[in-house]
């Protein structure tokens, strides 16, 4: 209590002094992050209004106004990338969320040998993204892929299938490969959420005659909402930025059917040397991620992690 009064009395001076200390303590972090994120981001915004067709520093960069944006908006390849990215994001996040809740509930069961399940589930997540993609790219090979061998030898399929050979199938395969790796993350979030739900809630619900399904809908899911909100935001943003898994598995093919926005921006900038247009495309991703998280924060209320602490 005495502390409180002291704090009130000396507040302005103390706040100013602490402000100065905080400034010095934060300068190194600000320099690192602003130098590598802030400054390049500003440059990208500026470049999106210029025609930049060379990586050389002395090359001319004429100002072209909204031309780059007008160009991408009338470009069918851009809209194809938008469609692919939305499709990937929706099914990838949706599947991970549904399977992740199931897997989290499964890991929560008081089973014997539960540790083995948890160890097995964390491993796909630990595998580097590129290794995961390179591995499944081979497993799905149409001529000698082990996944094909497994499906045929167990009688699940009659013949070898070219998973990455046609558009829709390639896209769905890439989604499944990413789901295989990242569902673990969702599951561990769900498991942690389940562990803090008071057991008494279930006990009294059971006394009231609520069945297992009813308990899941009325207790588990509502109380998991804050955790699911965080995971939803993390995974949607991550999915919308997708690059690595697609680059390694299909390079965006066959025939651009798996080209995401990030991959399209990469190709436009580094293969076609159209850096201005590439900048404009990459800013579309930034805008989408920003508006998405603002939307989530609004829609899901103050249940986000950062808001709480």
């Amino acid at each position: 209590m005495t502390e409180a009064t002291v704090e009130v009395a000396t507040k302005p001076r103390r706040a100013r002094r602490e402000g100065r200390t905080a400034f010095f303590l934060l300068v190194p972090a600000v320099v690192v992050v602003l130098g590598v994120v802030g400054w390049p981001l500003v440059t990208t915004v500026l470049n999106s209004f210029r025609r930049v067709e060379s990586a050389l520093p002395k090359a001319p960069k004429p100002f072209v106004g909204l031309h780059n944006y007008a160009y991408i908006l009338s470009d069918s390849d851009f809209w194809n990338a938008v469609r692919n990215t939305l499709y990937f994001t929706f099914f990838n996040t949706g599947l991970e969320l549904i399977l992740g809740v199931g897997l989290g509930v499964l890991m929560f069961q008081p089973m014997r040998g539960r540790w083995l399940l948890r160890v097995a589930v964390i491993l796909p997540w630990a595998l580097p993204t590129v290794v995961n993609a390179a591995m499944w790219r081979y497993y799905m090979n149409a001529d000698y892929g082990p996944l094909n061998a497994f499906l045929v030898q167990t009688g699940l399929r009659q013949d070898y299938y070219s998973f990455l050979g046609s558009g829709t199938s390639a896209m769905n395969s890439v989604i499944l490969v990413d789901v295989w790796k990242n569902t673990s993350l969702v599951a561990f979030f769900v498991l942690a959420g389940l562990q803090v739900i008071p057991k008494e809630l279930y006990e009294s619900a059971e006394i009231d005659g609520a069945g297992a399904l009813r308990r899941f809908w009325s207790i588990t899911l509502p109380l998991l909402r804050p955790v699911l909100a965080v995971v939803l935001v993390l995974r949607t943003i991550e999915a919308f930025k997708v690059f690595d898994v697609i680059y390694v598995m299909t390079r965006g093919g066959p025939a651009s059917s798996t080209t995401s926005l990030a991959l399209y921006a990469y190709k436009t900038a580094f293969s076609d040397q159209l850096f201005g247009i590439g900048s404009a495309i990459s800013l579309v991703i930034v805008l989408f991620c920003l508006s998405l998280s603002l939307f989530y924060i609004r829609a899901l209320g103050g249940s986000m992690g950062p808001e709480q602490s």
Partner: protein, 279 residues
């Protein structure tokens, strides 16, 4: 607690198979003779074991694909280590400021650091490429260390300031009464008590660096600077028929993160979800 029904065990067994089989077989493929990999029907357990790829990785020169994996592995280790050191050096003072000092714009500053997570690599990589070219940092490990510090630092700031919030302020005050300055308090009171948090942050930072691909793909093209994800991606694209060596490189690349995940599962899971399940 209820008794777990038999079918729950069946589901668990299926899940374990789906999660483990692809990884286990990657290791098997790395010691399967090349000809056996192309057999039809495929024998999932080879009749003979072929260790030649592993021998090549550890003994061949750096111009061979196998030797390049070894160098790439070393590069990844050095880059992860350098990044973790820099991020902790700049992140710990910052985390202290966020946790212990009141100042205007505190919340905004913290949120701005977090917001960098929303900026995709592709939106930064073009200007960074030009900057790095000017500073002669392309194809260097130090270049990647600086770039990686930019995404690891916000994470360190965020997780450690959260962790420090959990250390009672009374301890600071007691130390102040004993005449300790801020630096002294940070060093002798807060850091020892946040050791588990720092440890978890180191693990995560290592995983983040280890997995990064796009920056490394664009900024490094020489064997001397390439990281292991770039090496694996390039090799699997170029020589797609020699899957055995891709598998060996993949297993090599997966060893550090898999070891971290297995040995420190509790730390990781606790650190991962600490922000999400509070309150």
């Amino acid at each position: 607690m209820h008794r777990v029904r038999w079918w729950v065990y069946v589901i668990a067994a299926v899940v374990i198979f789906i999660a483990l089989a692809p990884i286990v077989w990657l290791a098997i493929a790395s010691v399967t003779p090349s000809a056996a990999l192309l057999e039809k029907p495929l024998h999932f357990f080879p009749a003979q074991i072929d260790l030649s790829r592993w021998r090549a990785i550890f003994t061949q020169g750096q111009n061979s694909p196998a030797g390049a994996f070894r160098i790439a592995m070393l590069n990844s280790l050095i880059i992860a280590f350098g990044t973790v050191v820099i991020s902790l050096l700049v992140g710990i003072p910052g985390a202290y400021a966020f946790s212990r000092l009141r100042f205007r714009g505190r919340r905004t500053a913290l949120m701005s650091f977090l917001a960098t997570y929303m900026v995709p690599t592709i939106a930064l990589v073009i200007p960074l490429y030009l900057i790095m070219a000017n500073l002669h940092l392309l194809n260097t490990r130090i270049g990647l260390i600086i770039v990686y510090s930019s995404f690891v630092t916000p994470f360190v700031l965020w997780s450690l300031s959260n962790y420090m919030d959990g250390v009672p302020r009374e301890l600071d005050e007691a130390a102040t009464i004993d005449g300790a300055g801020r630096l002294r308090i940070l060093w002798s009171v807060l850091l020892p008590l946040t050791r588990p948090g720092i440890f978890a942050a180191i693990l995560f930072a290592t995983l983040l660096c280890w997995d990064e691909f796009l920056y490394a793909l664009i900024f490094t093209s020489t064997t001397a600077s390439k990281t292991i994800p770039v090496a694996v991606a390039e090799f699997s694209g170029k020589f797609s028929t020699d899957f055995g060596l891709v598998a060996a490189g993949g297993v090599l690349a997966a060893l550090p993160p898999v070891f971290i995940a297995l040995a420190f599962q509790r730390y990781l899971v606790a650190g991962l979800v600490s922000g999400a399940v509070k309150g």
